[in-house]
């Protein structure tokens, strides 16, 4: 294939491939928790608030990724406190943060001369422009994610599964919930490099949702989601190179097609099982 040959020659493609793999690790590890806890809307709010941080960083002359990280953590903590204390207003307030983040980002970028091009690349991502320093940052962030999730796996599990029981066992629910949202925030920043702001939710939720159809424990789901993310991002990169189409969009659509196939396949299997069970019970009735 043309892509494999090109991969040997162009280091921007090699970096893109590595960035895709690192993003797959992050989205597999954290996406599992997002899917199981059903908080992709929260992740969306964090992702869009990130734009505000990036805009501000550009305007004041800092590295955009630093601004993105700060904005992501701040909005994660804000959303966490809201969902813990004002649950009845949660969706309104998250929507507000979502919109305000974008508005701030657009204003700052408009006020910064010559950066209009960057807005598009943040919205849709440009994996082909990933620099080697980005790769290092992604590697460190992945490592931090993996270590924290490994050390506190049981605590996260009980807090996400049953908050009340976690409290009774002396597990600090607020602390672990906010920590999880911060980890989501960090992952969102990782993924923005690869697929961009708008498609972050796809890569965060689809691989884990596919994995959740086949495996039934959190640790297996994290591993399976990571592997699915690796396949999706690599094949997406190859396909977009061959067809000269935007990489983030291709990666997202491949994930969506996998998800659709898995869902339809599972529904078909469940229906067959049900039919078999009905037939079996019919046979038993005849026999008796």
């Amino acid at each position: 294939m043309e892509f494999i040959e090109a991969l040997m020659h162009y280091d921007f493609l090699q970096r893109a491939l590595i960035a895709g793999l690192l993003a797959a690790v992050g989205c597999g590890l954290i996406g599992t928790w997002v899917v199981v806890k059903r908080i992709s809307f929260v992740a969306g709010g964090i992702a869009h608030a990130v734009l505000g941080g990036m805009g501000a960083a550009l305007f004041f002359g800092f590295a955009p990724i630093a601004g993105a990280l700060v904005a992501a953590i701040v909005s994660a903590l804000l959303i966490g406190v809201i969902s813990l204390h004002w649950q009845e207003r949660e969706d309104t307030l998250i929507s507000a943060i979502w919109a305000i983040g974008m508005a701030i980002g657009i204003l700052f970028m408009a006020a910064t001369p010559g950066y209009q091009v960057d807005l598009i690349s943040y919205l849709f991502g440009n994996i082909l422009m990933v620099s080697s320093s980005h790769i290092w940052i992604m590697m460190v962030l992945d490592l931090i994610l993996a270590v924290i999730l490994f050390v506190f796996h049981r605590q996260f599990e009980i807090v996400i599964f049953d908050e009340e029981f976690a409290l009774l066992r002396g597990v600090p629910v607020t602390f672990f919930y906010l920590l999880l949202l911060c980890l989501i925030a960090v992952t969102v920043v990782l993924l923005i490099q690869v697929v961009g702001l708008i498609l972050v939710i796809a890569l965060l939720t689809l691989p884990a949702a596919i994995a959740g159809q086949f495996v039934h424990s959190l640790s297996k789901m994290m591993i399976a989601a990571t592997l699915i993310g690796v396949v999706v991002s690599t094949s997406g990169l190859a396909l977009s190179y061959e067809t000269d189409l935007p990489t983030g969009a291709i990666i997202t659509l491949i994930a969506a097609v996998f998800y659709l196939c898995a869902s339809v396949g599972m529904a078909y299997r469940n229906r067959r099982r049900k039919l078999q069970a009905v037939n079996m019970s019919g046979v038993n009735h005849d026999a008796s």
């Binding site: 049981r154 066992r169 959740g212 039934h216």
Partner: protein, 240 residues
């Protein structure tokens, strides 16, 4: 003092100015099997949550196992009314029961914890289900698993909030037989709206309808029940 599992004195609680519990006093000795009954909205679950230290009483005093409720709650096995979790959560029965072994910020599960969890599953007769995911369990099986999780805490007292509200009557009797057996070594407090059913098992019922009245189970008359519910209890029961 130390021979009381629960010592509540003149306790009141209100949600946003609306009084839920008023001047409730209740003493439960170690080893008792007490039923907490009353109409919906009578404050049963609220009282349970106060005993667990999940809610703070507006006034009055409360000691649980001779301690402040927040300090006592790790020694209490709690079985919630409606499980707060999603039934499709990817977790096995064994992992769920093991949650009773968690303690504080640090740590996973050791061989010792698995042994205790297994023992709890044997006692509630769910050890054969330990590899099953919770989504595949029936209502009665899930309830037994939740009791096993409470037992895995190695509790001195069991608190159950309507443990049989989602399951049929035959399984309900099985669960109460199990509770009676567990009562031989620990205090058991069980919330129910079905006074007629639980009187056959518990030694004492506390009737909660804003305020508290206690009865020995053999002394309950139809009048008491009508006073509490304002109608015949059978009608209350059939309302579900």
């Amino acid at each position: 003092m130390s021979d009381l599992a629960v010592d509540i004195h003149d306790l009141s609680f209100s949600y946003d100015q609306v009084p839920v519990l008023e001047h409730v006093s209740l003493q439960i000795a170690h080893g008792e099997f007490v039923g907490l009954v009353g109409p919906n909205g009578g404050g049963k679950s609220t009282l349970i949550r106060i005993i667990l230290g999940l809610l703070q009483a507006s006034s009055g005093t409360l000691r649980v196992l001779g301690k402040h409720p927040r300090k006592a709650r790790r020694n209490i096995g709690y079985v919630p009314q409606y499980p707060a979790f999603e039934r499709d959560f990817p977790i096995s029965v064994e992992q769920l029961v093991l949650m009773g072994r968690l303690n504080g910020i640090w740590g996973g599960y050791h061989a010792h914890d698995r042994e205790i969890a297994l023992q709890a599953m044997r006692e509630t007769e769910v050890s054969a289900l330990k590899r099953r995911t919770i989504g595949t369990l029936s209502g009665g099986q899930l309830q037994r698993v939740l009791v096993a999780r409470a037992l895995a805490c190695e509790p001195r007292m069991l608190l159950l909030d309507e443990p049989t509200s989602n399951i049929d009557q035959r399984v309900e009797s099985e669960i109460f037989d199990l509770l009676k057996q567990l009562n031989q070594r620990m205090t058991v407090i069980v919330v129910s709206h079905d006074i007629a059913f639980i009187s056959a098992y518990v030694k004492r019922v506390a009737c909660l309808s804003g305020t508290l009245v206690c009865h020995e189970t053999d002394a309950i008359s139809g009048d008491d029940i009508r006073d509490l519910y304002g109608e015949d209890v059978r009608q209350v029961h059939h309302g579900h």
